[in-house]
C-alpha cells in the first residue's frame, strides 16, 4: 500500500516495449449501478444467512415470550404447572387474602413485619439454619409448615414430631378422624408425603384402629398457631380438586388477612457458612467491558475480513512430469516382482551401448558383443558371458548387485 506512485506526470518508463505499443482503453465511470442496487446485491448474496439469522432471532424471541416469568419450582404460587400452586394462591387472592410471595428471607421478614399474617414455609432442602428460622418464629403470628424437616420442627414447632412417611399400604384417601374444625370439614385428603405427631393429629395414615396415638398428615399445636401439612402435594394444581384437599388448604391458609408464601432458595444460605462466590468480588464494570470488547472484536473482524475487490482466478496450466510414466512402470515391476523383465531391460540396454562403444553393429548377437568386450577389457570370455548373457538374477539383492556389475563393466569399456 505504501510507496504509491501517484503523479500527474508520467514517471520514468520501465517497460522495454516500444512506447508506440501502448494501448489506451476508454474511460469507464462507475459500474452503472446505484447504492440501492448494490445493497440489493449484498442482500441477495447473503440471503441464506439473513434468513437463518432471522429464524434464530424468532426462535429466541418466541422462547423468551413463551417462557414463564417466574420460577418453576413446585408449590410456587406463580407456577401454573400441575406441581405448582397458582390455583390456591389465586383463589386466596380472590377471597381477599393478601398473598405475598417472598423470594428471600429478607423479603419474608419485611412482609411479616409489615402485616402480622400467616407464614407458609416450604423448605424441603433445608436451606435455612436455626437462627434464621427463629427470626421467622418471632415475626409470624401463625405458621403453616409444609413437609418440614427435623430442624424446622425443632425451632418452630417443638411440640410436633416427625413420624416418618405415609405407609405404602395407605393408598386411598385419608380420613380426618379428629375433632379440629378444618380437617373435619375437609373430610378426606389425598394420601402421601410425611406424617407427624402433635398435640392435634389428623388424617392418620395406616390402620384406622390405631387412631389414638397415630401419626397423621395434619398436625398442629393446641392453639392452632403452628400447623404442619405432611403432604405438600395437596396444595398443587394437579390434585387440589381431589377429595377435601381444597377445603383443608384454603381453610388453613386463608385464616388471616395476609399470607406470606416463602420458599427458601440457596441464596438464603447463611453467609458465614459458605465460601464467597468469586464472581461477586469482580468490579461492577467487568460484564459491560466484556460485552464492549466483544463488540470491538467484531469490528476488528469486519475491518480485516473486507476484501479489496473480488478474487481474480488464475487459469492453471496442466502439469505432467515426463518421467512419470517410467516411474510408474518401475513401481509396476517392483510390485509384480518381475525381476526377469527388469533384468532383460538392463541387459538389452547394456548390450546395445557396449556394441555402440565397441563399434560393432547393434544388431549383432550377444556372443559377438561378449567376445569383443573380452578382447577390449582383458577379462575372460566365460566371465563376461555369464555376466552379459547367461546370468539371470533371482532375487532383488541379486538384481541390484548384477546391475551394478553391468554398470562397472560399461564404465571400464568406456575408459579404455
Amino acid at each position: 500500500m505504501g510507496g504509491a506512485v501517484v503523479s500527474t506526470r508520467p514517471g520514468p518508463t520501465v517497460s522495454t516495449a516500444p512506447p508506440s505499443g501502448q494501448r489506451e482503453s476508454v474511460e469507464i465511470i462507475g459500474d452503472g449501478g446505484s447504492v440501492g442496487r448494490s445493497v440489493g446485491t449484498v442482500l441477495r448474496r447473503f440471503r441464506p444467512w439473513i434468513v437463518l439469522g432471522a429464524l434464530l432471532l424468532i426462535v429466541v424471541i418466541a422462547g423468551l415470550i413463551g417462557a414463564p416469568r417466574e420460577t418453576l419450582s413446585p408449590l410456587s404460587p406463580s407456577n401454573p404447572a400441575p406441581e405448582g400452586s397458582m390455583a390456591v394462591a389465586e383463589v386466596l387472592r380472590q377471597q381477599g387474602v393478601d398473598v405475598i410471595e417472598a423470594s428471600s428471607l429478607t423479603e419474608a421478614q419485611d412482609a411479616l413485619a409489615a402485616q402480622d399474617g400467616t407464614l407458609l414455609l416450604h423448605d424441603p432442602d433445608g436451606w435455612l439454619d436455626n437462627d434464621q428460622l427463629s427470626s421467622l418464629k418471632d415475626l409470624s403470628a401463625r405458621l403453616v409448615l409444609i413437609e418440614p424437616g427435623l430442624t424446622i420442627l425443632d425451632v418452630l414447632a417443638p411440640g410436633i414430631r416427625s413420624a416418618g412417611v405415609v405407609p405404602a399400604e395407605a393408598a386411598g384417601p385419608l380420613e380426618a378422624r379428629c375433632s379440629a374444625e378444618d380437617p373435619s370439614t375437609a373430610g378426606t385428603i389425598t394420601s402421601g408425603g410425611q406424617v407427624y405427631r402433635g398435640e392435634l393429629t389428623c388424617f392418620p395414615a395406616g390402620n384406622p384402629e390405631q387412631s389414638g396415638a397415630a401419626s397423621g398428615s395434619y398436625a398442629a399445636t393446641g392453639a392452632l398457631d403452628v400447623v404442619v401439612l405432611g403432604n405438600g402435594a395437596i396444595l398443587s394444581n394437579g390434585v387440589i380438586e381431589d377429595n377435601g384437599n381444597a377445603a383443608l388448604v384454603l381453610r388453613t391458609l386463608g385464616n388471616s388477612a395476609s399470607l406470606v408464601w416463602y420458599q427458601p432458595t440457596p441464596q438464603d444460605l447463611a453467609v458465614t457458612d459458605q465460601p464467597v462466590n468469586p464472581l461477586n468480588l469482580l468490579p461492577e464494570f467487568v460484564n459491560p467491558l466484556m460485552l464492549w470488547l466483544l463488540l470491538t472484536a467484531l469490528a476488528a473482524i469486519v475491518w480485516r475480513a473486507r476484501r479489496l475487490g473480488p478474487l481474480v482466478e488464475e487459469p492453471m496450466p496442466v502439469v505432467v512430469r515426463a518421467a512419470e510414466t517410467a516411474e510408474g512402470r518401475a513401481r509396476l515391476y517392483q510390485d509384480a516382482g518381475s525381476i526377469n523383465r527388469a533384468a532383460a531391460n538392463l541387459r538389452a540396454a547394456t548390450l546395445s551401448r557396449i556394441a555402440l562403444m565397441l563399434r560393432i553393429p547393434a544388431s549383432s548377437p550377444a556372443s559377438a558383443v561378449v567376445e569383443a568386450a573380452a578382447r577390449r577389457t582383458g577379462r575372460s570370455t566365460q566371465e563376461l558371458d555369464l555376466l552379459l548373457h547367461t546370468h539371470t538374477p533371482l532375487s532383488d539383492a541379486d538384481l541390484v548387485r548384477w546391475s551394478q556389475e553391468l554398470d562397472t563393466l560399461e564404465k571400464e569399456i568406456n575408459q579404455r
Partner: protein
C-alpha cells in the same frame, strides 16, 4: 462499504467510558456516537460511482521483462477522493504494487503505475479496478468494483537467441566457399573471381580464364529461397514438463531460433502449431516482421489435452508449400504416440520433403538409469532403460523412413536443431 482500523480503535477507546460508568447508558451512548460518526463519514466520502478509470497497457511484453500498467483515475465527484485503489490482475501477472493509496481533488485526475513482472507466457487478464473511497474522518469507506477488463500479451522469452550469433557466423561461412567443399545439387553458381593460391584447381572456369589474362575460379553460394516449414505439436504430449519447462515451450524456443536463422539464411519460413486443428499459423511475410509475428502467434499457445491428428498434417503442409521444403516436426518420441500417429504419414512426407523430427529428451531418464543403489532404484533404472530403448527403436524407425532426428535435452535442442539446419543447407539437401 467497509470500516477502517481507525474505526476499530475508536471502538476500543469506548471501553474507557464503559469502565468508568458501567451500565447500559454508556454503551448505548458510545454506540450511537460510533454509528453517527460512521454514517457521517460515509455520507461525506466521495462517491466511487463518479470515478472514471482508464488503463494504458503495452501491446505486449516479453517474459522475464517488466512493464507498467498505467491507470488514470478521474474524479467526477464534487468532493476530494481519498481512496485505496486495487487493480485486479491475475496472480501470474506478478503485479508488484496492485494496491495503492491515491488522492484526487474534485474534477482532476491522477495516474497510478502498477509494475508488472509476468511469470507466465500467454494472455494475462486484468478483470476490474476496485476503488475504496474513504470519508474525511477516515473511519469508513465506500467500496466499488469497476469492471474494466484488459489483456497483456506476454511473449515467449526467446532465451535461445544467445545462440544466434555463433550460428549465423557458421551460416555465413558457407557463403563463398570453394565449390568442391560444398558441391552438391543444391549449390548455386555465385560469381567469378581471380584465382588465389589454395583454391581447388577443379573450380577454375577455363572459359572465363581463356577470355581473360588471369586465371578465374567459379565461386558458389548455398541455395537460397528454399522453404522451411516448422510444425509445432500442441497435443497432449507437449504438456509434459522436462526440467521444469513444458515441451511446448522448448519447442517454441527451438522454432524461434530456427526461424530467425533460416530467415537470415535467405529461406522462407512458415510456422504452424497443430494438434487436431491449426492453433497458430504464420506465413512467410515481409522479412522484418517475421520474429514479432512469430512470437505474437506463439504467445497464447497452450498444450491441448487431446491426441494429435497426424493424418491431417501432410494436407496442412501442402497448403503452405507445394514445393519441396524442409519440414521440421517438433513433437515427442514417445513410442505409443509416434507409432500410431506420425509413422504412418511419414513416408508420404519424406517422399516430397526433407523431414526433421525434433524432440526433447528427458535428462531425468538418463539420471534414473545410472542410480542402482537399492532394489527400487534398480527397478527404476530398468524402467528408464526400457523407455530409452523404446525411444531408440522409434528413432531408428524414423531414420529408416528417411527422416532426420534431433533428440536432445531442453537446453541443447534449439542449438542442435539449428546445427541440423546448417548441415542440411551445407549439404545442399534443402
Amino acid at each position: 462499504m467497509s470500516i477502517t482500523g481507525r474505526f476499530v480503535i475508536l471502538t476500543l477507546i469506548g471501553a474507557l467510558p464503559v469502565v468508568l460508568f458501567p451500565g447500559v447508558v454508556s454503551i448505548l451512548l458510545w454506540l450511537a456516537l460510533l454509528v453517527l460518526a460512521a454514517g457521517l463519514d460515509l455520507i461525506l466520502a466521495a462517491s466511487p460511482r463518479r470515478v472514471g478509470v482508464a488503463r494504458s497497457l503495452p501491446e505486449s511484453v516479453r517474459l522475464t521483462e517488466q512493464c507498467t500498467s498505467q491507470l488514470t483515475i478521474r474524479n467526477h465527484a464534487s468532493r476530494t477522493l481519498r481512496a485505496q485503489v486495487r487493480e485486479g490482475w491475475q496472480p501470474s501477472a506478478g503485479a508488484r504494487n496492485p494496491v495503492q493509496r491515491i488522492t484526487v481533488p474534485a474534477g482532476e485526475s491522477r495516474r497510478m503505475n502498477v509494475v508488472l513482472m509476468p511469470e507466465r507466457r500467454g494472455d494475462l487478464a486484468v478483470r476490474h479496478v476496485t476503488v475504496r473511497s474513504f470519508g474525511p474522518l477516515g473511519l469508513t469507506a465506500r467500496q466499488l468494483t469497476i469492471t474494466s477488463p484488459g489483456t497483456l500479451r506476454v511473449l515467449p522469452p526467446f532465451h535461445s537467441k544467445r545462440h544466434l550469433p555463433s550460428k549465423l557466423r557458421r551460416l555465413r561461412e558457407l557463403d563463398g566457399r570453394a565449390a568442391v567443399q560444398i558441391r552438391g545439387a543444391g549449390t548455386e553458381f555465385d560469381s567469378l573471381r581471380d584465382y588465389v593460391r589454395g583454391d581447388d584447381v577443379r573450380s577454375i572456369d577455363w572459359r572465363a580464364t581463356a577470355r581473360r589474362r588471369d586465371t578465374v575460379v567459379r565461386t558458389w553460394r548455398p541455395e537460397r529461397d528454399r522453404r522451411v516449414v516448422v510444425v509445432l505439436d500442441t497435443s497432449r504430449t507437449s504438456a509434459a514438463r522436462i526440467d521444469n519447462e513444458p515441451r511446448l515451450d522448448t519447442g517454441i524456443e527451438a522454432s524461434l531460433l530456427l526461424a530467425v536463422l533460416a530467415q537470415r539464411g535467405g529461406d522462407r519460413v512458415d510456422f504452424l502449431a497443430f494438434d487436431r486443428r491449426p492453433r497458430a499459423r504464420v506465413e512467410s511475410v515481409a522479412k522484418e516482421n517475421l520474429l514479432s509475428a512469430l512470437v505474437t502467434a506463439m504467445a497464447p499457445l497452450e498444450a491441448e489435452l487431446i491426441e494429435a491428428d497426424w493424418s491431417q498434417v501432410p494436407a496442412q503442409i501442402r497448403s503452405i508449400s507445394s514445393h519441396r521444403s524442409l519440414v521440421v516436426l517438433l513433437t515427442s518420441l514417445d513410442s505409443g504416440a509416434v507409432e500410431e500417429g506420425l509413422l504412418p504419414v511419414l513416408p508420404g512426407l519424406t517422399a516430397q520433403h526433407v523431414v526433421v523430427v525434433a524432440s526433447v529428451r528427458d535428462p531425468r531418464l538418463d539420471a534414473m538409469r545410472l542410480e542402482r543403489e537399492s532394489a527400487s532404484q534398480t527397478f527404476r533404472a530398468a524402467a528408464a532403460e526400457r523407455a530409452l530403448l523404446d525411444r531408440a527403436a522409434v528413432t531408428a524407425r524414423l531414420k529408416q523412413l528417411g527422416a532426420e532426428v534431433v533428440d536432445e535435452s531442453p537446453h541443447e535442442l534449439p542449438p542442435k536443431l539449428a546445427d541440423m539446419y546448417i548441415r542440411l543447407k551445407a549439404a545442399g539437401r534443402l
